[in-house]
């Protein structure tokens, strides 16, 4: 029974990890080796210099990395702050119309993004913010993702009622109670939201595609896309570049897995 379970585990892991293995293995093949099933077999002579070549061909990797990091960090801070604040207000404070507003949060989840993409672009254009990072970051600081607001609300609902009273006894305002008492308690949730935001922003292609114009302001995914030219891209280099962009995601996830699960656990237990 244990052996069977171990076998199943290995099979499951292999099945899900296969494509990543493919990216890695293909990135180490000789240029022009082609990409059939053959790319799945590890090469006899790994071409590590594919990586150096790919980064060089991208033209300004360090700069794109810095751009991506800037956007990602700002987005994470924005999401964590705004969503936790809104989640706190919806969970712990009472005011008229609260439920109606919360329905608005949920309804926003169902609006396909493509609907508002064009009007939103026109808005940012009117504000003169095209070709800056504002359109990528501002909607996280103002607004936030409905899903995260929902998660924070669930989390704050799970905390004991005595906390509010204790804060009120100490003379805290709603803002102070949030900042001093509730936010520090929300650490697992913050980690969860930060991780998901990291992955989404790091991998985002559409928003940078639409809003970033200048070559030097490109993010990594955008640089990868313009690297992917019709005629002279070798697939091996493309895979090497993809692997470089993927690596931090895998690493961050692996390191943050514990906190991540804890955050989800609290939200899940309250449904």
């Amino acid at each position: 029974m244990r052996i069977l379970r171990a076998l199943v585990l290995v099979a499951v892991a292999a099945l899900f990890a296969l494509p990543l293995w493919f990216v890695l293995s293909a990135s180490l093949h000789k240029e022009g080796a082609g990409l059939g099933l053959g790319a799945l077999a590890p090469p006899a002579d790994p071409q590590w210099h594919n990586y150096a070549l790919a980064l060089e061909r991208m033209g300004g990797f360090a700069r794109f990395l810095a751009n991506t990091l800037l956007v990602t960090v700002l987005s994470i801070l924005g999401q964590c702050f705004t969503c936790s604040l809104a989640g706190y207000a919806f969970a712990r404070l009472s005011f008229r119309g609260r439920d109606a507003l919360f329905v608005c949060v949920l309804a926003a989840m169902m609006l396909p993004d493509q609907t508002s993409a064009l009007p939103r672009f026109l808005l940012f254009r009117t504000l003169g913010l095209v070709d800056s990072y504002w359109p990528l970051v501002l909607p996280t600081v103002l607004g936030g993702a409905p899903f995260f607001i929902f998660l924070f609300r669930q989390y704050f609902l799970s905390l004991p009622a005595e906390l509010d009273e204790a804060a009120r006894m100490d003379g805290c305002s709603a803002w102070q109670a949030y900042w001093r008492v509730f936010l520090p308690l929300a650490r697992p949730m913050l980690a969860t939201v930060a991780l998901i935001t990291f992955l989404a922003t790091w991998n985002d292609f559409w928003a940078p595609l639409v809003y970033v114009l200048s070559p030097e302001k490109r993010t990594l995914t955008l640089a990868l896309a313009s690297f992917q030219r019709t005629f002279d891209t070798s697939v091996e280099l493309l895979m090497a570049a993809s692997a470089v962009i993927l690596a931090p995601c895998v690493l961050v996830y692996f390191l943050a897995q514990r906190l991540f699960l804890r955050g989800i656990r609290v939200a899940a237990s309250k449904g």
């Binding site: 207000a89 169902m110 808005l123 103002l142 709603a174 949030y178 992917q228 005629f231 996830y253 991540f260």
Partner: protein, 758 residues
Amino acid sequence: MPAAMTLALLLSVLVGMGASGASNGRELVVMAEEGHLTAWLEIEALSRAFEHEHPGLSVRCLPLGGAAGSQDKPKFLIAGGVPLDLLRIDVTELAAYAGEGALVDLAPYFAADPSWDERAYFPAVLGALHGPRGELWGLPSTFTPYVMYVNLDRLSELGLARPASDWTWHDFRALARRATTDDDGDGRTDRYGVSLTQWLQAVCPWIWQAGGELIDSKGERARMGEPEFVESMRFLHALLHEDKVASFDASFANQLTQGLFQGGKALFYGPVGYWETYRFRSIERFRWDVVQLPRGKRAATSVAMTVYVVPRTAREPELAYEFLRRLAGPEYQRMLARIGNGVPGLIAAAESADFLKPEVAPESEQVFLDVLREARLQPPVANWRKIESLVQAELEGILLQPDCDVPAACARMAAKTDEYLARERERGGRARLPRGALELAVGGALLGLLALFLVKRGARPAARERRRERAALALLVPWASGFVLFLLGPALVALVLALCEWSPLRPLDDVRWAGLDNLARLGGDATFASSLGATALYAALCVPLGLALAFGLALLLRRESRATSLVRTACYLPAIVAPVIVAALWRLALDAEHGPVNECLRALGLGAPAWLRDPAWVVPSFVLVSLWSVGAQMLVFVAALQALDPALEEAARVDGAGPLARHWHVVLPQLGPVLLFNLLTGLVAAAQIFAQPYVMTQGGPGDASRFLVLYVYESAFQHFDVGYACALAWVLFAALAAACGLLFVGTRRFVHYRGRSA
């Protein structure tokens, strides 16, 4: 506090706006990337030289890249009025750009330029750039007529002579029959006579050769039901399904795998353009060349081309014209010829050794120039892309389905196209929306919603309570301001646009009032019906299967140990990878001929479906892809399972309940809220599937995977029909909201919350 911060942020954005808005000096913005590193470096060098000649001017080259979606970026920029002086577009979009008034007519500039000599360019090519009233919209970058590629070694292996330049359909069919062989005698064809291309531009030559037409010369009536047209379709259908001498090359749809021709498994490949020579030069196993297409009643071929144009948002049209002449000038054109980008539009460059390249294959580059005599461009109708999308579904039906009723399919094509053309004619008569009406309507709606909220929220409480309420609402300011600005506001704009007619290539003050027409069209739109069906089928398959798989994996991985944590990471990996990369990988994996999935199935002796190419299998293919990204849902289940009280399960075990009964009666009921959560988020995600079909199938085969959001996107950016796109999006939103509401209410009986209700 948060309210003050929000205010400060908005202010700083506004201040920063003033600073960035005032750029000093003149600037020329060029978006003309060729998809080639050498060309990119060359255009940069050209820009520096141009700057040197024009002191005080800076030339900014914007990269575009070859990735999905890049060709739609200029439409955002033009819609937003972002300055853009020079643009490279595909000629299939030229009529739409010009028709919407998005381009500057360069005819006066050419007339005033003593150095301009139109005889320097191929007349057939330049003809495509002329408007109906004598406009000249731009100059060609490179172009390519469609020709046939032939495997010379295979030809001599079969003892056949190379086709003459005036070979016919009959010759073609005979050669293809000879070259179709089952080499290992297993009853499956190993080598085909021809690997056919299947997009409309590549099918046009057959239609024209048979004497058929897509549309009449005025662009008013579809001619797809006529006998000549039907004959050409019958010919292709017979090659594929009666003679069985043809297949499709996977290579165009999937650049990562070797196609049939490249693998030496097809004698002919085409009709296809010059771009394939670039890839085929790496073929070492056999010699190959290009030949004219076989002729039917007459000789004909179509042309693919990219052109340089000056959009109406140009701030420096005069300088843009000058720069455009450089790009279409001898040096740059010869460079394009050298790197193998296509046939240069400039005759001198095309006839130079830079293009004809005697030293490398194909031997007969001259063929690309010879066939120009019989080459034709698409009919100058408003929107080729739209016609293509209307026709493509039926066309793929004819090509892919053995039992297709060809004349009936042609008649359906004609009917759809006629309906579209009639609508186009109607368009000019619509009234313009008054200036500011859109803003007013949206502003009014927002105020109305606010008033509704204030009135409906209940009775006014005591003063102390009101103070607390204000403090609470202050905390919601960052969320609310963003919600209104970036979600509700744009969504309301979309709602108003759903009642209008607008193309993103026109300025926003040229919105025309259409009333309920867009909604009325939904009822008769077969594409909408099939896209609704595909989306519903996809959701109905992937939501329950996803839940089951996620739950099963979670049960397997619920205990905390080093091994499970590793396996969990592995399962979550697909969710980490960018959707675009995921889609590219799956397209490779599901390739019908050479994909690893099918190779495994065949090795196991199972049937191998054509996955993405089979209308019946394409939706299940996407379900498969989505199941593979089930990691996030699994984690939610794992977390929920870990939060359960183990005592309950233990008690059940002591009472003698088996593992199945324990899970069914004890574990599952406790997971009600989590199940509902995963169900709702899964449904929302499934209904909005976009990136995968956009990269993997573009909605095909036929309309089989044209999911709703994809259709919304195509309507807006490829058919330039924003009003209809908005109507579609709102219908989707309403349907989704209704479905979620029903689920929520319907499951209330089964979902038990512990403690406080959600």
